[in-house]
């Protein structure tokens, strides 16, 4: 597991253990089950950083997404389904002994993770800051396209993924809240069977994302 994954899980642990962030646990208010929709935006740092840097010149990109969350299924337990989209562009290349030769052939990469998360929201104090943490499974769609492709050259595949996430949300109005989340996603063996990822021995198409979120609903 990568360093990013460890950092992300430690972050989640801090959120899960309220004592680490708050001196005193307040009694949880009585909550009703609710349904919320949310939109989020942020940055994702890909795990196969060298491969993406070689082709696109960077190891991170913007991610946009949204989803639905059912809260307070039992106490603070929530279930969430969300879809995100991140794109990157670069050019095809050849690498020899660390030297990169760009080939002036564009590459367009689209990553669309669909995640289902089960987590727990810790309603503390008067509920002004609500930490949460969760984990889940997903389907990760990876598409890579370039001109001059023969059949089978382009990639359009789906892979199983898992993830852990943690964050905080702050109610702004009765039906509106804002939040921030850190999510680590692993997509093992999605890469590394061809392309520069095979050369660099990188196989994980996942990464670590930091996102801000606006949620509407209860």
């Amino acid at each position: 597991m990568t360093t990013r994954a460890i950092v992300a899980m430690a972050f989640v642990w801090v959120l899960v253990d309220p004592a680490a962030g708050y001196a005193q646990r307040a009694p949880a208010p009585v909550s009703r089950r609710g349904v919320r929709g949310f939109f989020d935006a942020g940055t994702v740092w890909v795990s196969s950083a060298e491969s993406f840097e070689a082709v696109t010149g960077r190891a991170s990109t913007t991610t946009l997404g949204g989803g639905v969350q059912i809260t307070n299924i039992w106490r603070g337990v929530f279930v969430q389904a969300d879809l995100a989209r991140a794109t990157m562009s670069g050019e095809r290349l050849f690498v020899h002994e660390g030297q990169r030769f760009a080939l002036d052939i564009p590459v367009h990469i689209t990553m669309m993770p669909f995640d289902v998360t089960v987590g727990y929201r810790f309603v503390l104090g008067r509920g002004r800051v609500i930490p949460y943490a969760g984990a889940g499974l997903g389907i990760f769609a990876y598409r890579e396209e370039s001109p001059f492709a023969a059949p089978g050259d382009d990639v359009d595949e789906r892979f199983r993924s898992w993830h852990v996430a943690g964050g905080v949300e702050v109610p702004i109005m009765r039906w509106l809240s804002a939040g921030a989340e850190l999510r680590y996603r692993a997509v093992p063996d999605a890469l590394g069977n061809g392309g520069i990822s095979e050369v660099l021995n990188e196989s994980d198409a996942g990464g670590t994302a930091v996102r801000v979120r606006i949620a509407v609903g209860r």
Partner: protein
Amino acid sequence: MHPTHQTVRLLAAGAIAVSLGLSPGAQQSDAIDSTGVRVMRGPLTPEQATAIRNGSPYVPGRLIVKFRPGTGSNARRTVLAAVVGEAEEHRPRHGDFSVIDIRPDIDPRRAALDLAASPDVEYAEPVYIQHPHARPNDPSYGRQWNFHTLGMESAWDINPGASSSVVVAVVDTGVAFRDEILTFLRSDGRFLFRVTVPFAAAPDLERAGRFVDPWDFWWDDALPLDMDGHGTHVAGTIAQSTNNGLGLAGMAYNVRIMPLKVCASAWDYLFGYAETGLAVLPLDFSECDAATTAQAIRYAADRGARVINLSLGGPHPSIAERDAIRYAVSRGAFVAISAGNEYEDGNPVSYPAAFAADIEGAVSVAAVSRDLQRAYYSNTGPYVEIAAPGGNLRADGNSGGIYQQTLDGAFFDTFLLRPRFDFFLEASYQGTSMAAPHVSGLAALLYSQGITSPAAIEAAMKKFARDLGAPGRDDEYGYGLIDPRATLRGLGVAR
């Protein structure tokens, strides 16, 4: 055809010292004597040429010696005197070695061994003879199955014919690269007379600015005119004009060609050594020597060639040639070398191809036929690195060969007294000589596409090669058949 020049070529016997001292790049008029006669200042004396015609594997009376750095002229003379007695040392303009003229009765192989034992000598070797790796067959029209097999149409979608900034040196029998009318001496065995011989540029190869820095290492002038057809055929595979509504196609049809003649054909001999009474030679006679080839390789590298094609070789290793290839690679030139056509003749190791296995940036090339099987003649061995179409006339007739435009042999058969080198046809050849220019053409395309390191070009060719024969690298096909489209397209993240 528009004749632009009329001169007489004559043999200047014993002019080797002049040849080795002169620098290519001198004016053409430097090769014309006081009577207006053009003189051959090639690398061989008539006696040496006769010995080679009679099958000598090396140039008699001559050695290649590289002295260790810091060895002064007195020390060199002492070493030479101790081993070979009277000797004359020449320093080629394009070489890091010396050419030593010794008495013709001394065995060069024995002398080379004795000299190599001296602490002042880095290496010493005979000047071995090599040959172009193909022979023409009866001319015929046909299709270029080789380009279809390689998927060149889709490769040209990615890179249409490479850039004219890329120079490919064709180190060979010369190239039909310009119109000329030259007058030579010709012997019929009894009398010596003058013949006026027309030359023309290959119509489907010539265009403005196509040829750069030509040099003839036999006649020692800037007219490396092909009198064989081999070099023109090789140049055609690399760069024959394409999409011009004429003739055939070439791999990297926009590149510029540097024609360098290092292989003398039958007619180079018949004209150059006419004064000796030489009247007839087999049309397929052609020979090149390692010292001349080594100089041409360095010449090409020094003048900016990015790709050097060597469709020639022989069974004897030449360190001078190996060092020249290394030098060229160090100057940024990729070198493609034919692996040899002697599989059915004992499958000897062929040089300089065998050097390529140890040089990143130089590749030895085997030949496959239309069915993608190793061609029956293509040498095998651990030095074979890659395969390309070379044709198989035995199995498929002319249609199984590699078609390019070249000189029409009917007009320069050696029984003629007055040959012509201004008629062309689309001729079917076979050989690893034909395979190597496919690799040179791909190298030029890759260079244009952005892979500018010879070692990276070699690595890319091997990585994307289509595996043939036993899985992985093998001695018949090396890493497999070149795949131009896949190699040009390179790598994405996942595929």
